[in-house]
Symmetry: C2
Subunit: 198 residues, 2 copies
């Protein structure tokens, strides 16, 4: 508890590197063993030998800790509401642009490709990613939509986005690799828009 005594700026501790690293390692183990849904901050803290409050202090929510643990520098709790607000008729385009601009960054692409490969090829990784996607991305979008078939709508969006990422960054279909981001946003944005709202 002494580590909590001196509050530090979030994500930029001036000390406690050991605790941070122990927490990340514990999170990787806990998520890997129990899946996203069942893993708890409390159990991760216990594994790391720290107080749960310290985990929240360093990493925020379970979603943030997961994103940090798998090495994807995205913040669904911050990013998803940002994408969904703003002009409603442009939500589809914003979703596609957000994902593509993230994956154009080498550090996101590298880890993202690894994560997608793992999720699709291993029976262990699949429930983990699906749990995260369902709760943090599809769930957030679905709640924001507030219509009866929102989970299906959000899942259709996920299917197109996943297919785009696989096609452009993993199997590398030549025409998808050659296309620029603006062109892909113009072509795929209306699909996402229709899945969400029409």
């Amino acid at each position: 508890m002494t580590e909590q005594a001196a509050p530090r700026r979030r994500g930029r501790p001036r000390g406690g590197t050991d605790s941070r690293e122990r927490i990340i390692a514990a999170a990787v183990d806990e998520f890997g063993e129990h899946g996203y849904e069942a893993a708890t901050i409390r159990a991760i803290a216990a594994r790391a030998g720290v107080d749960p409050a310290l985990v929240h202090h360093y990493f925020g929510t379970k979603a943030d800790l997961f994103a940090e643990a798998i090495g994807i520098p995205l913040r669904p709790d911050v990013d998803v509401p940002g994408i969904l607000t703003g002009p409603r008729e442009e939500v589809g385009a914003r979703v596609v642009r957000y994902v593509l601009e993230a994956f154009e960054r080498p550090e996101v692409r590298r880890r993202g490709v690894m994560l997608i490969r793992t999720a699709i090829s291993s029976r262990l990784g699949t429930p983990l990613l699906v749990g995260f996607l369902s709760r943090e991305l599809i769930g957030r979008v679905a709640r924001a939509l507030d219509v009866e078939d929102a989970p299906l709508r959000a899942s259709l969006v996920a299917s197109q986005i996943a297919g785009l990422l696989v096609g452009r960054y993993i199997v590398k279909l030549p025409a998808l690799v050659a296309a620029d981001v603006d062109d892909l946003v113009a072509r795929i944005g209306p699909t996402v828009q229709r899945y969400l709202f029409e």
Copy 2:
């Protein structure tokens, strides 16, 4: 050459099982080593110790042999033209229905899932599947469209179809698993239609 002397009904030889099996095994090796584009019927025949004409006799084109070698009982040379003819405004719906009805068959789903997992997780499998997809599926669709950006249009279709298959049959997003085929055709068909023609 003696094996060719007595013509047999295609796909149902009353003998020559050994030759058929040797050809399949040779095809798996040849496609695996050289990729879809570079593999030739001639080289496969040489590996199997048979005449190239016998390979054609038993298996038809290279695409058919590939489909047989990977165990997917689909015939792109027959199926794709069938999907693309008929009312143009229903092509998108027919594409989605064709793929879903194929994957609802357990033997297609089992092998298809295995193939997708392998292609996405291994660097070896990826070029093989992409070569096949590019030449036999995307290429056929693109040629039939006869517009300048046809390869991109066909690749966008491939991205949505791949994402649908991954979402419904591999990572099993609950809402995509629960949806019935007609509903998915109604929602995704217009996407395919727009990618192809609009």
